[in-house]
């Protein structure tokens, strides 16, 4: 595989894309996990399929359509559910399937042969083009810069929104930023693992990091590193045994998640028995 990396641009792009996606998974994953927006993010990812279909129908780059639908549904969920009359969960469910339905409709209306949608649904890291790397980099940079520059405010908002609001902080502004950053991140992740599997990459690395660290900074940084590791090993496995890369990354990640979970349980137990020994001595 090492030789292939030097030899083939597609392998270099794959690794670069994995790195970008991991940065997004760490930052956006932390936001999504702490704000309990996992299912909403799933909804946004699926709603973007409508935009992708729209791109095919009108013959423009599908990912821009996807981005437009993703941001639209994200802002729609955040605004409409604000007054509490419609539950975010309900609206998420509706947009989730509505987006998918629109996508299918637009694609079936598209003249000519039916385009292959599997790369959008399941991701295809080995077919990432230079132009995709370009827009992925831009989105990742926007996300990272905003998060790093306003880290302190984000931390307050993520930790205790009520408290932040009570200090007079402009929480609404942060909310808007978050609801724009999430769809940007999702579009980056779609290229790697596809619409259906984005939630996994947003939740698994952060969940592993949270089992090991107890400060927000450590969790964000370590989940970027963990995600990079998971993606690269996943790609390597898929390269050698020739199965789809997105699925490979997610299955391997889930496996590592459970290993870490068992490890932390064992660690707690050994500490406990150690304490007992200590007391009985």
């Amino acid at each position: 595989m090492i030789q292939a990396i030097f030899k083939y641009t597609f392998m270099q792009n794959a690794l670069l894309a994995a790195l970008l996606a991991s940065v997004v998974a760490g930052v956006i994953g932390t936001i999504v996990m702490e704000k309990k927006l996992v299912s909403m993010s799933g909804g946004i990812a699926h709603a973007s399929f409508g935009g992708i279909g729209f791109g095919y129908l009108l013959n423009f780059e599908p990912i821009w359509g996807g981005l437009f639908f993703a941001i639209g549904s994200s802002l729609l969920i955040s605004r409409i559910t604000k007054n509490g009359k419609i539950k975010a969960d309900t609206l998420t469910g509706i947009l989730w399937s509505f987006g998918m339905a629109l996508g299918i409709l637009f694609i079936s209306l598209t003249p000519g042969y039916m385009p292959d949608m599997t790369s959008y649904l399941f991701g295809d890291i080995l077919s990432v083009s230079n132009s995709s790397i370009f827009y992925m980099s831009i989105f990742t940079i926007i996300i990272v810069v905003l998060f790093v520059v306003y880290f302190h405010s984000f931390m307050m908002y993520l930790f205790d929104e009520d408290y932040a609001r009570s200090t007079g902080m402009n929480v609404t502004l942060l909310e808007y930023l978050v609801y724009i950053m999430i769809p940007l991140g999702i579009i980056v992740l779609i290229k790697i693992v596809g619409i259906i599997l984005t939630i996994a990459l947003m939740t698994i690395p952060v969940s592993i990091a949270k089992m090991l660290f107890n400060s927000l900074k450590q969790v964000v940084i370590s989940s970027v590193i963990i995600s990079t590791f998971l993606c690269i090993v996943g790609i390597a496995i898929s390269y050698y045994i020739n199965i789809p890369s997105g699925a490979c990354i997610i299955i391997f990640s889930t496996f590592i998640y459970f290993i870490t979970w068992l490890y932390t349980i064992a660690l707690k137990k050994s500490r406990h028995t150690h304490k007992k020994h200590h007391h009985s001595e």
Partner: protein, 229 residues
């Protein structure tokens, strides 16, 4: 210049159910005012209207000039699995509310946080994750965060809820030392204990009644058999 926080004709309803009806009263400055009353009577609503988490349907809440609020909510407003230590928690209180780029904690902020931690007798626990604290310790952590913010209004929503009587009394002692430059508003169910230390009391049961003498309220409640000492 007003030297108090005043509620004028304030009404707030959750749908058809009104928690606060046309309430008019004041919280005097630099004193401890206790909010007493049954569950669901509207105490938390009054407090939330003050800190700005709710906006009144009618009437208004006016604060004195230069008022800054330190709010200690009932512990459940955040997720305890959040990756933060008690030191992180208190440190968060030291910064102002502006969303400015590259905010960093200064040496002074860190000192302020340590000071607040000490005042609430949390020293030694600084690096413990908030997930591993008892509920009582967490409450003290939240009060430390509010104190670290240099707020001149401290709003405490049942800070003694999970504390035993002894720890509650210690907490009240700390509050008494703060009141010379802080307006303290405290919701509590430890009626007898809080009325001992409060300067003023507010009985909230749909309607609001203000008592200049907490003792007076205590006697009324005793006579009505609402609580026993």
């Amino acid at each position: 210049m007003i030297e108090k926080i005043s509620y004028k004709d304030v009404r707030y309803c959750y749908g058809d159910v009104c928690a606060v009806h046309e309430a008019t009263f004041d919280f005097p400055k630099n004193a401890i005012t206790a909010l007493i009353g049954p569950n669901g009577g509207g105490k938390s609503t009054i407090v939330k209207l003050l800190v700005g988490l709710l906006k009144p349907d009618h009437g208004h809440v006016k604060k004195f000039e230069g008022a800054t609020i330190g709010y200690v909510p009932q512990a459940t407003t955040f997720d305890r699995a959040f990756p933060a230590t008690i030191y992180d928690l208190v440190l968060m209180g030291t910064k102002d509310n502006k969303i400015t780029p590259f905010k960093r904690y200064t040496k002074r902020d860190k000192e302020k946080a340590c000071e607040a931690i000490k005042r609430l007798s949390l020293n030694g626990l600084e690096n413990r994750s908030i997930n591993q604290l008892s509920l009582g310790q967490l409450k003290r952590g939240l009060i430390a965060r509010a104190i670290a913010s240099n707020a001149n209004i401290l709003v405490l929503d049942e800070p003694d809820e999970s504390l035993d009587i002894e720890s509650s009394k210690n907490l009240y002692k700390i509050l008494v030392t703060l009141k010379k430059d802080t307006t303290i508003i405290i919701v509590s169910h430890h009626v007898a204990e809080i009325l001992e230390v409060a300067d003023y009391a507010l009985y909230v049961m749909e309607h609001v009644k203000f008592y200049n003498e907490p003792k007076q309220l205590q006697e009324i409640l005793l006579n009505d058999g609402i609580f026993t000492l």
